[in-house]
């Protein structure tokens, strides 16, 4: 049963040093506010999991929260590289980071297995690629009926899943629509979960392709308006493409990155103040 609580309290009570944490979102509904709270609370040694690590993981990795990354595509979508991620992988700054790399289909099915309480999932893939040479969590498996050989990947069972959604009701049921990616599987595969939402409503209106995460599948729901900024929340606000572009020179330079993080993440109380803080420097689009 979800408890509706402040985000700071949710992170405090549900995310610990050394945890494996999946902040999911497929371009849409990326839980920036929750990630900032984790950075601010100084969590260390996290295993970060995500299909598409982007700016938010660049920030977490650069801030030294992570010792490992499990992922399938890491970039600044539409812009280029994640420089903090590359700096950690290529040069070990601020500390070296272990990576465990899969394809999208591999990670997606690992979440499905975790959500289903199965130790592994099966797929057609990886054969003939170099991924099995560098990733130990890929192993052949034989169909007991046809004798066919396929590939297996182990279940992902994060300690915590963190996602952002449009709405919760007063009982803590959460509604999400538009592109909902892998969020349901991430939440269901995890031992604990935090969902930030744009707002609390009395009742959900039907929306195209809406999914609902029942309250009984969640631990904490926190209201954080604009909590997915600079990514977007379908029917709430668009993606701030300018921010993604503006991030490139900041992320590229260790010094600029540290100044930016000190000013806009560590130096603020919460995400609302973060938004005011970057707006004051002209970084939030009207």
């Amino acid at each position: 049963m979800a408890e509706i609580m402040e985000l700071g309290e949710a992170v405090e009570s549900l995310v610990s040093d050394g945890d494996s944490v999946a902040f999911e979102g497929f371009t849409h509904l990326i839980p920036f506010a929750a990630a900032h709270e984790v950075i601010r609370q100084g969590r260390r040694d996290l295993t970060l999991i995500r299909m598409t690590p982007d700016l938010v993981y660049d920030q977490m990795i650069g801030a030294g929260c992570a010792s490992k990354l499990i992922f399938s595509w890491g970039g600044n979508p539409g812009v280029g590289s994640l420089h903090r991620f590359r700096d950690a992988v290529e040069k070990g700054w601020p500390e070296s980071i272990e990576i465990e790399e899969h394809s999208h289909a591999g990670i997606a099915n690992r979440y499905v297995a975790g959500a289903s309480n199965l130790p592994f999932a099966v797929l057609r893939g990886y054969v003939g690629t170099d991924l099995p040479k560098v990733t130990s969590t890929i192993a052949p498996i034989t169909c007991p009926f046809t004798g066919e050989e396929l590939m297996a990947v182990p279940a992902l069972e994060p300690d915590v899943a963190v996602v952002h959604a449009q709405q919760a009701d007063r009982n803590g049921n959460v509604a999400m629509w538009g592109i909902t990616g892998i969020q349901k599987e991430a939440v269901f595969s995890a031992r604990r979960s935090i969902v930030t939402v744009e707002e609390i409503v009395d009742e959900f209106e039907p929306r195209p392709f809406q999914i609902v995460l029942p309250s009984i599948s969640l631990d904490a729901v926190s209201v954080v308006p604009n909590g997915a900024y600079p990514s977007y929340a379908h029917d709430y606000y668009p993606r701030d493409n300018a921010f993604y572009e503006a991030w490139d020179p900041i992320g590229r330079d260790r010094g600029k990155f540290e100044v930016w993080m000190a000013r806009h993440v560590f130096g603020v109380e919460d995400f609302a103040e973060h938004l005011r803080s970057i707006e004051a420097e002209g970084m939030v689009k009207e």
Binding site: F26, T52, W73, R124, T129, D130, E185, N241
Partner: protein, 264 residues
Amino acid sequence: MSGTTNGNATYTADEMMSIAASRELRGGVVCFVGIGLPSEAANLARATHAPECSLIYESGTIGAKPEVLPLSIGDGELAENADSVVSVPEIFNYWLQAGRVDVGFLGAAQIDKFGNINTTVIGGDYDEPKVRLPGAGGAPEIAASAKEVIVMLRQSPRAFVEKLAFITSVGYATGGNSREKLGYPGAGPSVVITDFGILRPDPETKELTLVGLHPGATVEAAKEATGWKLKIADDLETTYEPEEKELQVLRDLKERTEAARKAG
């Protein structure tokens, strides 16, 4: 490659590449679209000769009809008028792996003569790479399971290499019938479109062979832009120049995209 002039207008090599790629997409097919150049070509096809083709993006949008080009595989634009939006596991399992995708449309950082693709690391070794690329994303399973694959990338000796630093996605493996032995359902890359021309696999050896040159490009330049000894087809063709409508639709699309990007 820089621009060229036809009877009506000047166009760039990149425009020719997108237009040539769009022409490869037949009407009515189900196309799994990678972001960037493939998305540009696929949407150009949809806006010109193939309005009935159905675009799938790995974020879960089926029958996407974007008015502007998405910057990422998960733009809201893709969900807005889609026939359906499903979860990521469903897209990969029920659609791609299930064999419902006719054409996989991929970009690449590097490609070898057998159409294998690298989007993982360049230089050094895997643990200490010179350049860390974004990684696999959906490409390995698109390359594995789409009935055929179209690859688009600009030709240069750094991109068209004798040996990949990392095989992220399989084309024809080591050539000949070696792909078949891997047991993948899809047939592999049927064509590679570059800013110089068009390459197709040799029916026997599966080695990519230059079968078409874009107007203004030369065999010599194409050879120089290739990191292996490029084979040239006996009956080398010249790509039809962009039609006025193709150019206009492409430019409108890119202008709308740029305007939208700035606005929102």
